[in-house]
Amino acid sequence: MNCGVVVFPGSNCDHDVYHILKHVFGLETKWVWHKDRSLKGFDLVVLPGGFSYGDYLRAGAIARFSPIMDAVINYAEGGGRLLGICNGFQVLVESGLLPGALMRNRSQKFICKPVHLRLENHDTPFTLGTQSGAILKIPVAHAEGNYFADPETLKTMNEQGQIVFRYCNPEGTVSEESNPNGSSENIAGIANTRKNVLGMMPHPERCADPLWRDRDGQVIFKSLIKSYYS
């Protein structure tokens, strides 16, 4: 399984996800420079977290025009597995690969803390081998993670099983109190209709190293490996 981690100017979780893929899961992992134009040969491409182009203008708004993005779009349209974490999710939304928008947090402030997520769809390559309703504890770290989509889009997404994670409390209840940033329907992560593209605000790479006590982030990487080999 060949993994590529795209490095935009300003990406800063690129090293973290590279470390998890390569050193924790032992996967063949390569850097992809934003000025490259090809994603040939990759079985998984990750758009990592960070502040691509300083988040100037709007998070992800400039990165979508990077030279590599044509290749990213072609790769996704060809069914390639594409994971956008945090800023990567923002880039996916800005480039139209995923619906909706990510607005400034309700508090207007950056938030870094562990949150609980309820798994809403276990039938994606990113969540195989889990069960819907499972609760994961994964940190968030963002200023613009307030997911918004219009009611019609939300309805379609619900019907199509595109909503993959919702913020919840430790017991799994999705409530206003467990919504860290004001997202519509507590949405923390979504997929496209084909389920080969996943965007999520929480950082699974921050709780996937066996050195940590919290390792729920491993679920996503294990699932990608499982789906690749099955």
């Binding site: 100017p9 300003g10 800063n12 979780c13 090293h15 973290d16 470390h19 977290g49 960070g50 502040f51 182009y53 300083g54 988040d55 100037y56 402030k109 950056f110 938030i111 870094c112 803390k113 940190p139 770290a141 200023a143 950082h203 790479e205 921050r206 190293d209 050195l211």
Partner: protein, 744 residues
């Protein structure tokens, strides 16, 4: 076109540059001619207190700076300490006080940017930031604005560049109403044989500029803003605050680390305070060489800038490199890959002068040593301040005991200096780069050292009330507490950096405080055998003649050989025994208790016995290394009762109560809330009791087993008689909510 040489140098212009008439006469004598305006500007910044350390040098020289682990001591961009396995820790703390007061967001942001550059200039990848912040009273009208702006600035810059802000300290006191403190610490890691220095060796080598373009921002930030006290015109100095661009700094960081893997870098220096001027003079000064610069080559943000402006600009995110002759293109290609502005702007020359041309004309020609080292050396006088007598007469018999010890505890737990700073550190990305083993909210933060089994612990400490009441011992306590904090996390202290924040050194009383604090710090560091490898002095922290409390902030770096063996302050499970290492004396002077409950700031402050301190620390470290402890917590502000409360309520999961009985006959408020030094609250599985007691005996440390963890309340009795019992959920709520802006 001698437009840059045409200004006549009048006494007003000299004064406007912050130079005294005496200093100007000295310049005339050294040069044997009148300097032109550009040269005057150079002297002005290089002889400023901020750049020259002219008032502090003689005291700083007394600090211990050497040790077997020291690779680089003070004098470079940052200190470097060997940690084994081929790695070294690079660290420094620096102030950005005045800019943060007049423009909190950008002031704090560029403080972060500056210290990061100091670290990666040395070849190190920054892995963690800490902030030591001090604001005025919580109810002062400016405090919310300043607090929010500073936190926002730190969050904006640190989060964007992707270096975790893993902790620090935040204090509130009226003495900072007109002059807040923003001290930023950064830790980096480097291969110990790949340390880069700020040198301009090898005549013929290229001087290369890289980073943001140079603009008109920050001119005279170092000389006028940082080197004078505040008055009614302070707001007018806002244009001297620089504007930060963390995105460019991120590119600069990655480009530099990539460039440092090549063989062609000879030396490198950040263009921080005094910009291009200080970087070129200091690099040449360290190497005994000279530099020829052509300012026409410098990438500029706007047209029509004069040599004066280009040399004195403090635009952020810029570096000056000396690159081996013949490798200029390789360097330029690499920096252009990262979309950075870059140009060859000069050459290293044999003759030790800095020679600057602009548009084909000679703008500056100054011998390096005249500028770097030849300011008039006059020792300013020191004098013991009269206030010290008056403030050290605490008469406890006139202090009534509180009606309810429980209420007193709750007041302390909810007080701004003790309450949780969670709403602040949740705005900082404290996890990025996957190294943060102990997250903010414990005694020290712990970072793993990737590719090794080791970890580093870092802390930032200073109790400025102690330093006001007793500068010598207050500074000693800052060192002791810093060491105690990293020891409580399981680390051996290996190095110190300091940020010395004081009032105006032109006042003998202030300089006396400085002298005493440096002496106390040096004394403690020598005793603990930890070198001071870097630091920063910030004078003129006063407004309309009112100085801040002396605030020598200390950051200690500690080393853990086994990254799995760290310890934190929270109780881990019910049924553990609780013990206190060290002795509790009847000491309430300078305490948070007196301050919060009685509004008193009086000494004498707690005694510090260095020998006893060292013994407690050695024992604690041994107990952690042997895996005997569940938790360790330094006993500081708020005393034993607050330390116990914090151990109950600061864990990840549900809070854990405790039942404690103290066997002592001293005043109960001193027993509960006094701040006797050299004490650590530990908890452990009762099976380990005998081993712990026998080790304590062996180390000569008094140990009192005081109780057991468990239950839903913190219950403290004295000699069998209950004196307080409080619900831990309520204590936790008070602790967590009191400081939150919407909780007040």
């Amino acid at each position: 076109m001698a437009h840059f040489n045409s200004t006549e140098i009048t006494p007003e212009i000299v004064a406007g540059h912050g130079l005294s008439p005496e200093e100007y006469q000295h310049i005339l004598k050294l040069l044997g001619r009148t300097p032109n305006i550009t040269e005057l500007g150079i002297f002005s910044v290089m002889w400023s207190e901020h750049c020259s350390y002219k008032s502090s040098r003689r005291f700083l020289k007394t600090l211990p700076t050497e040790g077997p682990r020291v690779i680089q001591g003070p004098g470079e961009n940052a200190g470097v300490v060997d940690i084994g396995d081929g790695f070294a820790a690079v660290f420094k703390i620096e102030s950005h006080n005045h800019p943060s007061f007049i423009e909190p967001r950008q002031g704090a942001a560029t403080g972060v940017g500056g210290i990061l550059r100091d670290i990666f200039t040395m070849g190190a990848r920054p892995i963690a930031l800490l902030d030591s912040l001090r604001f005025g009273e919580i109810d002062h009208p400016k405090t919310p604005f300043l607090l929010e702006g500073v936190v926002d600035g730190i969050s904006f810059y640190g989060n964007c560049i992707g270096v975790p802000t893993v902790g620090g300290e935040v204090y509130f006191d009226a003495c900072y109403n007109g002059n807040i403190l923003v001290n930023v610490f950064c830790l980096g890691l480097v291969k110990s044989d790949k340390v880069f220095l700020g040198q301009a060796a090898g005549p013929g080598n290229a001087v290369i500029y890289v980073g943001s373009k140079t603009g008109r921002d920050g001119i005279h930030g170092a000389s006028l803003l940082a080197s004078s006290e505040f008055d009614d015109t302070t707001e007018e100095k806002r244009p001297t605050v620089q504007v930060g661009d963390p995105f460019t700094e991120k590119l600069l960081l990655e480009a530099m680390l990539e460039a440092m893997k090549q063989s062609w870098i000879v030396g490198i220096q950040d263009m921080g305070a005094a910009g291009l001027t200080s970087s070129s003079f200091e690099m040449a000064g360290r190497s005994g060489t000279g530099i020829h610069l052509d300012l026409s080559k410098v990438p500029l943000r706007e047209e029509g800038m004069t040599p004066y402006e280009i040399l004195l600009s403090e635009s952020q995110e810029r570096m000056l490199l000396v690159v081996q002759q013949g490798f200029e293109q390789a360097a330029i290609d690499l920096f252009q890959k990262w979309d950075l502005d870059t140009a060859v702007v000069g050459r290293v020359i044999d003759e030790p002068i800095v020679e600057i041309e602009f548009e084909g004309e000679n703008a500056v020609r100054l011998p390096v040593h005249l500028v770097v080292d030849s300011f008039p050396k006059k020792d300013k006088p020191t004098q013991k301040p009269a206030y010290l007598e008056k403030v050290n007469q605490l008469n406890l018999t006139q202090c009534a005991l509180p009606e309810s010890f429980g209420d007193a505890l709750k007041k302390l737990v909810a007080s701004p200096n003790i309450a949780s700073k969670r709403f602040i550190y949740e705005q900082y990305d404290h996890m990025v780069r996957l190294n943060t083993l102990v997250l903010p909210g414990s005694d020290a933060s712990v970072l793993r050292v990737p590719d090794t089994e080791k970890a580093l612990a870092i802390s930032a400490d200073c109790n400025s009330r102690y330093c006001y009441l007793d500068p010598f011992q207050g500074a000693q306590i800052a060192v002791a507490e810093g060491c105690r904090n990293v020891v409580c996390s399981g680390a051996q202290p290996i190095g110190v950096t300091n940020c010395l924040n004081f009032g105006s050194p032109d006042k003998p009383e202030i300089l006396w405080q400085f002298e005493q604090a440096v002496a106390g710090m040096g004394d403690a560091c020598r005793f603990f055998e930890i070198p001071v490898v870097s630091g920063n002095v910030s004078f003129y922290n006063e407004t309309k003649g009112e100085a801040i409390f002396p605030t020598p902030t200390i950051s200690v770096v500690g080393l853990l050989d086994d990254q799995k063996r760290f310890c934190t302050q929270a109780f881990k499970q019910s049924g553990d025994r609780i013990a206190v290492l060290g002795s509790t004396l009847e000491e309430l002077g300078g305490s948070e208790y007196l301050n919060t409950l009685l509004g008193l700031c009086e000494g004498p402050i707690p005694q510090l016995n260095l020998k006893a301190e060292k013994k407690v620390q050695s024992l604690c470290l041994e107990l952690i290394r042997k895996g005997l402890l569940s938790s360790t917590h330094d006993c500081s502000e708020g005393g034993l009762a607050v330390a116990l409360t914090e151990s109950c309520i600061t864990g990840d999961g549900l809070p854990i109560g405790a039942r404690v009985d103290l066997d002592s006959t001293i005043r109960p408020d001193a027993l509960l809330f006094g701040e006797s030094q050299s004490r650590i609250v530990i908890s452990f599985n009762k099976e380990h009791l005998a081993s712990i007691q026998s080790l304590a005996k062996e180390y000569g440390v008094p140990i009192s087993v005081v109780g057991e963890t468990g239950g839903n309340s913190l219950c403290i009795s004295i000699q069998g008689q209950e004196c307080l019992q409080e619900e831990i959920h309520q204590l936790k709520q008070l602790y967590e909510e009191s400081l939150k802006p919407d909780g007040r």
